[in-house]
């Protein structure tokens, strides 16, 4: 038995050496390093990876993804190790999706100034080889809110993740209210928007969130904007028990997950990764921060499923509104407070801008 074991171990080691040797000479120019969770999450990481993959395949560049150790509990050390592995494998540009990457990027980018970093959902880190890419989520939110009211709904809801401290979620929610308000004014309708960050601190599904949203639907709320990862599952469970309950999805087109989804406020992750990679390969890489929006095709509502899910408001009307945001004639506001977990700032904005037909029902 012992002999067999030692032979086995020897064999494994030899194979291991061979494996290392065989790929030792190979390098991967584009690296994608995820922050937490799985690569194929149907959302954030997947969108980023697919963008990098498409660009690399179209331009015949080598690419590889790296997932830090410890999955959903990965910490900065794990991410630093993954990034260093990418650098050792010859990465020239590293795409790092997720705002959790800040510290890891700061460490690795400072140690390897020759490697460029694209920090998706990030911001300006003040390093010469890092570009932070953030999005105008308020534009997608605006379009979704506008669409919901134009579709004929007057009782809306917003449930956001991050407890009011996640800037992306806050911008989505703020945009949603603005769009709904604008549409209500155009239609001369009175609307209410329930607004809540409760039960969403961890972006996860829970029976508490399910109860809360069921309560909304029970009391007449018609459509709820579910803004935060797995929270969608609880909103979906709540909606499934009410015949007329509808949902607005987030980040990607979620109409494939439930027939209750009327539209989704999306971020064009793949598009923006391709855009940033193209800049790098055309030697136009600029460190700092960029904010992508409709003018870069990085925000909006999904158009492929539009006709299937929207009955009253037409795709052409959406495109006309989208064009206004795109050319800058319509600019949704984006200044949200750091702690958005209150109704004051929303009410203030509505009063300041003369929207009297919108009631914010904050929870």
């Amino acid at each position: 038995m012992k002999k067999f074991l030692s032979a086995l171990i020897a064999a494994v080691m030899i194979l291991g050496c061979l494996a290392v040797a065989s790929c030792g000479g190979k390098t991967y120019e584009i690296a994608v390093v995820t922050d937490v969770g799985q690569l194929m999450d149907k959302g954030f990481n997947q969108g980023t990876y697919e963008g990098a993959k498409e660009y690399a395949e179209a331009n015949k560049i080598t690419y590889k993804y790296y997932q830090p150790a410890n999955g959903s509990n990965a910490n900065d050390e794990d991410r630093i190790a993954a990034m260093n592995m990418a650098v050792n494998n010859g990465a020239k540009v590293i795409v790092t999706p997720g705002y959790l990457q800040e510290n890891a990027i700061k460490t690795v980018a400072a140690a390897h100034p020759e490697v460029k970093f694209i920090f998706i959902d990030g911001w300006n880190l003040g390093l010469d080889n890092v570009v932070g890419v953030s999005y105008k989520e308020q534009e997608s939110g605006y379009l979704a809110g506008y669409a919901a009211v134009m579709e004929g709904y007057t009782k809306l809801g917003y449930t956001g993740g991050g407890g009011g401290s996640n800037p992306a979620c806050n911008r989505y929610g703020f945009g949603f209210v603005q769009g709904a308000a604008a549409a209500a004014k155009a239609k001369n309708a009175n609307i209410t928007v329930k607004y809540s960050y409760q039960n969403g601190t961890n972006f996860s599904a829970s029976d508490a969130l399910q109860s809360q949203i069921s309560g909304w639907y029970q009391n007449g709320t018609e459509v709820v904007f579910s803004c935060g990862g797995s929270m969608f599952d609880s909103v979906k469970a709540a909606a499934s028990t009410f015949e007329n309950a509808r949902i607005v999805g987030v980040d990607v087109d979620q109409s494939y997950e439930s027939d209750r989804v009327i539209t989704s406020a999306t971020k064009g992750l793949a598009t923006s990764v391709k855009l940033m990679l193209a800049k790098f390969y055309e030697n136009k890489f600029e460190a700092g921060g960029v904010v992508l929006g409709a003018s870069d095709d990085a925000t909006g509502l999904p158009e492929e499923t539009f006709a299937k899910t929207m009955k009253t408001w037409k795709l052409d009307e959406y495109k006309a509104l989208y064009a206004q945001i795109k050319d800058g004639t319509l600019v949704p506001a984006d200044e949200t407070p750091t702690d958005a977990n209150s109704a004051e700032w929303l009410n203030k904005w509505l009063t300041d801008n003369g929207y009297t037909n919108v009631t914010i029902d904050f929870e």
Binding site: A205, D207, Q210, S211, F232
Partner: protein, 329 residues
Amino acid sequence: MIFLIQQTFICTIPLLIVAMAGMFSERSGIINIALDGIMIFGAFGGAVTVYAFIKTGALADSPQLIYIVGMLVSAAAGALFSALLGLAAIRLRSDQTIAGTALNMLAPAVVLLIIKIFFMQDKLVMPTLPGGLSLTFVLIDNDLPGFLQAFFSRAYISTYIVLGLYIALSVLLYKTRFGLRMRACGEHPQAADSAGINVHRMRYAGTLISGALGGLGGFIYITTSAGGTAGGTVAGMGFLAIAIMIFGNWKPVGIALGSFLFGLLRCVGSSYASLDINGDGVFMLKDLGLPMYFYNIIPYAAVLVVLMFTAGKSRAPKAEGIPYDKGMR
């Protein structure tokens, strides 16, 4: 009011059945701290079953039947997983708390690995029916008149299955020879053995029943609260259920009281702003203007207070957690 009753059922049922699961293994003498892991594994088993049914199109016109088959498979999956605990705790005589903790870590890892390999995702969502319709397991979705509405509109068949199971299991534990023997093994296994009872077999039975109920509870939880999504977590429901079992003093009546109390308060805590108790259009709890954290804390604070007054009478099965050794006296 009606809404509150409906929601309370949704919050309570998984807790009730999983707390019963914990009771069965503990009354036979095995500490089952692995309930959370068993729920995760059972939920996954059920979700895969539903997935397979929808993808093959079998039984597409009778979702209730799919749901019931899903529940059976989830119970089987839970029992299978708990067999690992039985193996470690009964045959190998390992420390039961540590074995249970290990299983709690194993379950999400295994489930996520399988989902990752076969579905290329990090969670398994029950797919939509052909034609893009969502699958729902609600019995009647139109409104019935009066109080019937509270119990049958928007209710899940699982609620009534669990209530039936609860009664059957209570009878099994207290009114049958099998139940008496099982309880004896949790109190004084040496005495039971001297009376000719096979202690190991009884403890295996307790653990397997526990696993089956736990798996079932996990599946019901993801179906009614998490949109039918199986992944690496059931939001700590397994641990809550253990707390409720202790709260209920390892007895069915106490467990029922505990889970209904906790479920009700949890519902009030999360949907207080939408509660209109007497139907006059006034949302009293919301109008009080207290911060939401106040309502969120209530269920936990209430349990603590009740425990303070009842802890003196708390009586765990005497022999739980101690591996059975024939030679010991």
